[in-house]
């Protein structure tokens, strides 16, 4: 009971902060920054406490709260932690204070509104992960759009209006079809079983004809795939990343993109197992295309933010591959990969932001030999680069390795029984993504950190290395990257039962009438 209350506090703390900031006309900028940081740190501390208390030997929800919200429709305020969301909740809470602190120097315009938006988006993201009721999930899912829209649109770069409208219009299109599917799904539950509920658990029991499953999966998948983003629905991402302020990019890459993969894992695939099975070859192909295509595009970018943006597409392709492999290692690898990418991409975007604040350029060609100018910066950058490439002992290795292991395991079985050789081909191609990943990240690091010494537009000042605030932020991220790389056992234990449950749900046919 105590822990359940704590979980609600974790969820609502940022909303409270945002409300306070919006209605207090007199709050000073420095006060605003500090208040946000304190709230975010408190949220992380509480989340960490819950993480430690989380019992990895019980399946299902823990610390749950379930209250009626719109009773006549069977909508509940239902939140809780389970193996699916615990690591992502932890990641969100961990990045919160870092994003806040990271923006201290960069945001000087409309500071109060900015931090109110940071807090609001934190609230909405937490809510999306914690929600166990489809209506609530959708509400949080859509709520995320608003603060992000403002964040890119107000504090973004030159083409910010274009980028932010593209972002919202892309995501909203997916959501609107998901809404139709959601209403249909809940209505079918009511019509066939008489249960009026939006509970995930109830919906997972629903049997649907294949035809219906196919359409509903298509609607949900469209919405999630836009968010991931999977090729060919990814074109909003580079624009949004490039134009967003650093904090926006960090939130986008760190947490927001995981909404898509989380949605697939928690809802999309388990709700429609038969359609998922049937569509696996298509989705898997798209995942592998994302891996390779994202990597190829990252290889030829001149804008440093774009390199990381395209690398995100590639890295999230692995997550999809792992989820679709339906092998325990692959699924667990996908979860680790989500967290790992959240840490590494967030770290890299923060570092890009730090150099941008100093030199005001995102052109790769404008930089060179930073290792001599900024030694501390360069060490951190190199570590994160290697983590992104997947160097053993870093979190990137754990994630990618497990995903590929899972993909090969599943593919080999299929190949041996003669069912299909496509998965094997795809797995082999996916491995080439690792090589490409090393190629584009090392090319990036090479011309960025080494070579002729170049540093643009410092405005006459000597280029200063990282200050204490920046060192602390990056130090924490790097520590987390190594922790996840060296000791993945504990987090994997927390997610193991959920991964098994996911596998079970997707592998058990739930057809009614009709046949595939």
């Amino acid at each position: 009971m105590f822990d359940a209350t704590l979980l609600n506090i974790v969820l609502f703390l940022p909303l409270l902060g945002a409300g306070l900031l919006l209605v207090s006309p007199a709050a000073h900028d420095d006060f605003t920054r500090r208040l946000t940081l304190v709230l975010m740190t408190l949220q992380f501390a509480l989340t960490a406490w819950l993480y430690l208390r989380f019992d990895s030997t019980t399946a299902g929800l823990q610390f749950a709260t379930r209250l009626p919200w719109i009773e006549t429709w069977g909508v509940h305020y239902h939140v809780g932690l389970d193996g699916f969301n615990i690591l992502l909740v932890m990641l969100t809470a961990f990045l919160g204070p870092l994003v806040t602190a990271g923006a201290f120097g960069a945001i000087t315009k409309d500071v109060k509104l900015f931090y109110a938006m940071v807090l609001l988006i934190q609230f909405a993201m937490m809510g999306t992960f914690l929600a166990q009721d489809l209506f609530l999930f959708y509400v949080f899912w859509e709520t995320m759009l608003i603060p992000m829209f403002l964040m890119i649109g107000i504090w973004g770069g030159e083409r910010r209006i274009y980028a932010t409208l593209k972002f919202v219009l892309y995501t909203a299109f997916g959501s609107i079809l998901m809404l139709a599917a959601l209403i249909y799904l809940v209505w079918t539950l009511q019509a066939t079983t008489g249960i009026v509920s939006f509970d995930f658990a109830e919906l997972m029991k629903l049997r649907l004809p294949f035809d219906v499953q196919r359409w509903l999966l298509a609607a949900f998948a469209l919405s999630f795939a836009i968010k991931v983003p999977m090729a060919p629905l990814h074109t909003w991402l580079p624009d949004a990343h490039v134009e967003a302020p650093t904090a926006g990019s960090v939130i986008l890459a760190g947490v927001l993109l995981k909404m898509g993969t989380y949605g697939f894992m928690k809802l999309g695939f388990p709700l429609f197992p038969d359609a998922t099975q049937a569509f696996t070859p298509v989705l898997m192909t798209l995942a592998v295309v994302s891996i390779v295509y994202g990597a190829c595009l990252a290889l030829v970018q001149d804008d440093i933010k774009k390199i990381i943006a395209y690398s995100s597409i590639s890295h999230l392709g692995y997550v999809m591959l792992g989820l679709l492999s339906l092998e325990l290692v692959g699924i667990q690898g996908a979860v680790i990969q989500m967290v790992s990418h959240g840490l590494v991409a967030a770290g890299l975007f923060l570092m890009v932001g730090m150099i941008y604040e100093r030199c005001h350029s995102r052109e790769l060609a404008a930089y060179g030999g930073l290792a001599k100018l900024l030694p501390v910066y360069s060490v951190f950058f190199m570590i994160l680069t290697l983590a992104s490439v997947g160097l053993p002992t870093t979190s990137g290795f754990t994630g990618e390795f497990l995903v590929l292991l899972g993909a090969f395991k599943a593919a080999w079985v299929q190949y041996r029984v003669g069912a299909s050789s496509l998965p094997l081909v795809l797995a082999v191609v996916a491995v080439s993504g690792v090589v490409l990943g090393a190629l584009y990240m090392l090319r990036f690091a090479l011309s960025f950190l080494f070579g002729t010494t170049k540093a643009p537009h410092t405005g006459g000042h000597a280029l200063s290395d990282l200050n204490l605030r920046e060192k602390t932020i990056l130090g924490l991220i790097v520590a987390a990257v190594f922790a996840l790389g060296l000791f993945p056992d504990e987090p994997m234990r927390k997610t193991e039962l959920a991964a098994k449950a996911y596998r079970q749900l997707v592998l058990t046919p739930r057809l009614s009438g009709g046949s595939p």
Binding site: L22, P68, W69, I70, E71, T72, W73, V75, D110, L113, Y138, V139, E142, T143, L145, I146, F149, L150, G153, I154, R160, I161, T164, L165, V168, L169, A172, F173, I176, L177, L179, A180, I183, Y184, V186, W187, Q190, A191
Partner: protein, 460 residues
């Protein structure tokens, strides 16, 4: 018909009438200049409270059986619609003096009340005309631009056309059946007889014209733009509410079937799409709201596709949410040098830096009108499309939802202007106290509906 039932069932209307008499007497006594508006506000509030009280007591009566009846659900809807008139009155303080505005408004509200309890076509006709005639005058009242006269005339002529179509339809219904009850319309909906079908179509088209459904929408942007802000708000919110709630009563328990079903889907869908598309390019806020209200009328008529028992609930909730948000926009709209400038969307540029609260309120209203959760516009839309899907019209629901997607852009454009554009060179005008009060009341109601929509839904 017992005397007590006549008194009680029409208590809200009686209070409005009493208010009207008082206002007229004050005008005769020459004391109406400042006091008429507060008096009218008090009477409207009393009428709304009376309706709410009767509703919570579970009061139901049919004082004129077959012509007029009330039940708790109707009374609650009436209470909500009447309370939506309160912000309009508060806003009017800055625009109108004297007894004309309050008198016309009270009489128009009387018509709305009558329409919402009508059971037969004569009563409905009375209500419709009592509601509409004062509005033709209101559009022209204290007009500030030359187009106002043109707008009022256009509105009058098209309103007259709607009335004519309505009467023609009703007489065609009356001819063969000899009855003026709404049930004849329900029968005509499923009849194969061409005359009955023609009658039903005429009545439906009259409703479409009154609610500004494409292709009968052309009067709305002009009338909205020509009228002053409170009158625009009144037309967009309360007149539309009256028409839609009357439509729900006329359709009663009838389900739709082909070929009229196609009519009931095609034109509202067209409205949604065209309203949302045309709104994108409007330079005037009121024209934009007009097109937005054309689209919203489309969603509202969609509600009639649902099962009969859920219609009133969905329409009432939608009207409440939509009405609150429109009123919020109009009440929070910053004052400017003149009416024309106040109406320009460009005037909103950089509003967040001039008056952050106004910008936040208009922003919330825009997001909600766009149907983005957690604001009440989403729950309202959800309820309508839920009913449509439950009635088995999944394809139509998907089309409607995709149409609503088209609207997101122009609502966001307003937010973009307010938050992301450099300041327009506009002199900040002092905030008007009553309008501020009205906007805060609307905001409070909006937030309450966002957080606890279930409370109201379970009572509707």
């Amino acid at each position: 018909m017992s005397g007590q039932a006549v008194l009680m069932a029409m208590l809200p209307e009686h209070l409005l009438l009493l208010g009207l008499v008082v206002v007229i007497l004050m005008a005769i006594a020459g004391s109406a200049a400042r006091a008429a508006l507060p008096v009218a506000t008090v009477f409207v509030a009393a009428a709304a409270l009376a309706a709410a009280r009767l509703s919570f007591d579970g009061y139901a009566a049919a004082p004129f059986a077959g012509h007029l009846s009330v039940d708790p659900a109707t009374l609650l809807a009436k209470a909500l619609v009447l309370s939506l008139a309160l912000p309009v009155l508060l806003m009017a303080r800055d625009e109108f003096e004297g007894a004309e505005f309050p008198a016309l408004l009270l009489s128009s509200l009387y018509g709305v009340g009558l329409m919402m309890s009508a059971d037969s076509f004569p009563t409905l006709f009375l209500g419709l005309e009592i509601m509409s005639l004062p509005v033709y005058v209101l559009v022209l009242l204290a007009y500030q631009r030359a187009q106002s006269a043109e707008a009022a005339l256009k509105y009058l002529v098209l309103g007259g056309t709607a009335t004519a179509m309505f009467l023609m339809g009703v007489s065609l219904l009356y001819g063969p059946s000899g009855s003026m009850k709404f049930a004849t319309f329900g029968n005509a909906l499923s009849a194969a007889d061409p005359m009955a079908r023609a009658a039903a179509v005429l009545v439906i088209l009259a409703f479409f014209l009154k609610a500004a459904i494409v292709p009968f929408h052309a009067w709305a942007p002009d009338a909205y733009e020509g009228a002053s802000v409170p009158v625009t708000a009144y037309m967009a919110v309360i007149v539309k509410a009256g028409v839609l709630l009357a439509a729900v009563r006329v359709f009663g328990g009838a389900s739709l079937s082909a070929p009229l079903l196609q009519l009931m889907v095609a034109l509202p869908l067209l409205s949604i799409v065209w309203g949302n598309l045309a709104a994108m390019r409007q330079p005037s806020l009121r024209r934009m709201i007009a097109y937005s209200s054309i689209a919203h009328a489309g969603y509202l008529f969609y509600a009639l596709l649902g099962a009969p028992q859920g219609r009133l609930q969905a329409v009432t909730f939608y009207l409440l949410a939509y009405g609150l948000l429109n009123l919020l926009v109009f009440a929070a709209l910053p004052a400017a040098a003149d009416d024309r400038q106040r109406d320009r969307l460009d005037n909103l540029k950089g509003l967040f830096h001039r008056s952050p609260f106004a910008a936040l309120m208009i922003g919330i209203a825009m997001l909600s009108l766009a149907g983005i959760p957690p604001f009440p516009g989403f729950v309202a839309k959800f309820m309508i499309f839920r009913n449509v899907i439950a009635a088995g019209y999944t394809t139509y629901a998907v089309l409607g939802l995709v149409g609503s997607y088209l609207g997101i852009y122009f609502y966001l454009r307003v937010i973009q202007f307010m938050f992301m554009s450099p300041d327009a060179a506009v002199q900040a005008a002092p905030p008007r106290r009553l309008a501020l009060g009205a906007s805060l009341a609307c905001l409070a109601a909006t937030l309450w509906l966002s957080l606890l929509p279930g409370w109201l839904i379970s009572r509707l």
